[in-house]
Symmetry: C2
Subunit: 374 residues, 2 copies
């Protein structure tokens, strides 16, 4: 092996998206590096924007040689993504596979033949060359598919609970709570005895969470949603929420319920609301529409973005290692992730299939196996 | 003197606001307390909500004996202010006057005859009994009117610059920037060589700031506002803003400009935007309408409430003393505040005058002299 097939994305300055399958050279690993044959690379929601940007996927086509997927991009949007225009960029945040070559160092050699998970930003490739430190080493019994989602969802879920502790909160609220990530978060919170308020959008999602033992489930499609949310927040004392939705009034509804709970026994003016620090972190954007804030939560509240990489940058290296070891130990339990489809490169570039996985529906979970059908 | 006339507010559970002038006993000062004859108590924007709540002031009436001002409150709003219903509450956050009696302690005795400013929450009164520690002692040449606004505006303006330093920013954005507070902030920033981007709503306000030497002034009524704001933020490197407005898109516009500046040289996906921490604190609510966030500012941003009292609680006592001394030293320069109207209690309760000062227009600044015409 000296070459690798790999997916790249490009948006041109005339408004054309191209996802292309190219053949690239695989470098000789340096002393501290290993070559991983990627066998399972998830298509996460966080992969979609780098991959497709704002392209109109309903008008996508695959070239006859099956090497180029293309779709138009509205030119009016191009100024907003000017940093990436006309550049051929790798895609795929994470993945797992087998170490098939290693540099001379003892640490690198010790990984030969092992199943590892990596976070590189270019995992939609047959082979990746990465430093040893970028690997989570998995148990012999763990398959590449089991290990595929070792970083993004598990560390985000663990990061939410760590953030809760670091910022002095004692319970959590989570939206889009029946997602793979949301299910992991429930298992972590149950194991650590942390109260978690789950906000879902329908009864089917509520059932998924009930089955894994979730205590507080609020269905935002229910007529009693706001009352249910207040009651759950009031019972748990949650003053921190993580929101994957972003748009609409959900962030504001959560803060409003926190404030109502914090001020329920207030006497006098209470002009500035409860003194407890009420915080919502928005870590996803399932709803692109604007967030609407009624600001009926006094003066002690905050809303902000939350990003895994910027959270991890706040930790000591040994804290990160500890979290990664927990992921390896619990990858088939707490952090188990069920994939519904394993795609070849060609399938991942087929317009009808792209539309399916880009829909981000709960329960549909896709991965690419770069070595399938090649 | 054993009694004092004092204004109180009450909102009843049937939806009636009553501002009433009552006669109360003035206590004998304890060892560490002084009695201040209030000669000038500002009517700040922050006094309005405690005083009037959500009452419909257009339907207000003053009783024939001039002792009770009343106005209806929409019953639908009452649940939102239930903490204050049916309670007679004092009003007036700050004020200044002369110490006319003092407790036995040396500290209290040393204030006899001096002009002091106080922050009590009940300054719309002829006399206030307060601890020595609650006083800012002013120079002999400082009048009560000069000293009236020693706390709310000066410490808020100083607190903004302190917050900037504590949170690692190097320049500021401020909205409603031609307010008394905004003018103070300009003087502080000029003296401390801090770049300040002033957002105003019309050319008249821009002129006020030009006269005191403001460098960056953006008029939100201008067609070029967004481009002007971007340019000012880009030149100053401001990543922190204080907003007095709250509603509409101004908060989002500021963050958008900060992100555009932070990402102007970005290459590649830039999926999560600039890494600099972009923060807007909302400290007022001139516009009650919802805040609309487009969230086009990557993932490293925050919005939150900011409250003077909760900021001061983070400081060491000696830091607060230092800020207060600066206020006393510069009360007729940096922190000078021009009042346009001095009202008696009766005038402050006259419906037509209430409508004037409740309008919160730049340039109209009212105070109550509780000892006028009595």
């Amino acid at each position: 092996m000296t070459t690798s097939k790999q997916l790249f994305t490009l948006i041109s300055n005339v408004g054309q998206l191209e996802i292309s399958l190219k053949t690239v050279d695989v470098p000789q690993p340096k002393a501290h590096e290993v070559i991983v044959r990627i066998e399972a690379a998830p298509i996460n929601p966080s992969d979609m924007w780098p991959m497709f940007g704002p392209a109109n996927l309903a008008e996508a086509v695959l070239s006859e040689d099956k090497l180029t997927f293309s779709a138009p991009v509205n030119k009016g949007i191009l100024p907003r993504i000017k940093s990436r225009l006309d550049q051929v960029l790798p895609i795929g945040n994470e993945g797992a596979g087998t170490v098939i070559a290693a540099g001379d160092s003892e640490a690198a050699q010790s990984l030969m033949g092992k199943t590892v998970a990596i976070l590189t930003g270019g995992t939609y490739a047959q082979y990746c060359c990465v430093p040893v430190q970028a690997c989570i080493v998995h148990k012999e019994s763990t398959s590449a598919i089991n290990a595929a989602s070792s970083f993004v969802n598990p560390l985000t879920a663990l990061g939410m609970v760590e953030t809760m502790r670091m910022e002095g909160h004692t319970a959590l609220v989570h939206t889009a709570a029946a997602s793979s990530l949301g299910q992991m978060l429930n298992k972590i919170c149950l194991a650590q005895d942390v109260s978690l308020v789950n906000i879902v959008r329908n009864q089917q999602q509520a059932e998924i969470l009930k089955e894994i033992g979730a205590t507080y489930i609020c269905d935002s499609s229910s007529k009693t949603f706001k009352a249910d949310l207040y009651q759950a927040i009031n019972e748990t004392g949650a003053t921190l929420a993580f929101d994957a939705i972003g748009g609409g009034e959900i962030v504001s509804d959560i803060l409003t319920a926190m404030e109502q709970s914090g001020s329920k026994d207030a006497v006098g003016f209470n002009t500035y609301g409860s003194e407890s620090n009420k915080q919502v972190y928005i870590y996803g954007g399932l709803d692109f529409s604007p967030s609407i804030l009624n600001r009926a939560y006094g003066m002690t509240w905050g809303i902000g973005g939350w990003l895994l990489m910027r959270f991890l940058a706040k930790l000591q290296p040994q804290q990160i290692v500890k979290l990664q070891q927990q992921v390896a130990n619990e990858i088939t339990t707490t952090f188990a992730c069920t994939f519904t489809e394993e795609l070849s490169f060609e399938q991942a570039m087929t317009p009808a299939i792209v539309l399916q996985y880009n829909a981000k529906k709960t329960g549909g979970k896709y991965l690419i196996n770069p070595n399938k059908n090649l």
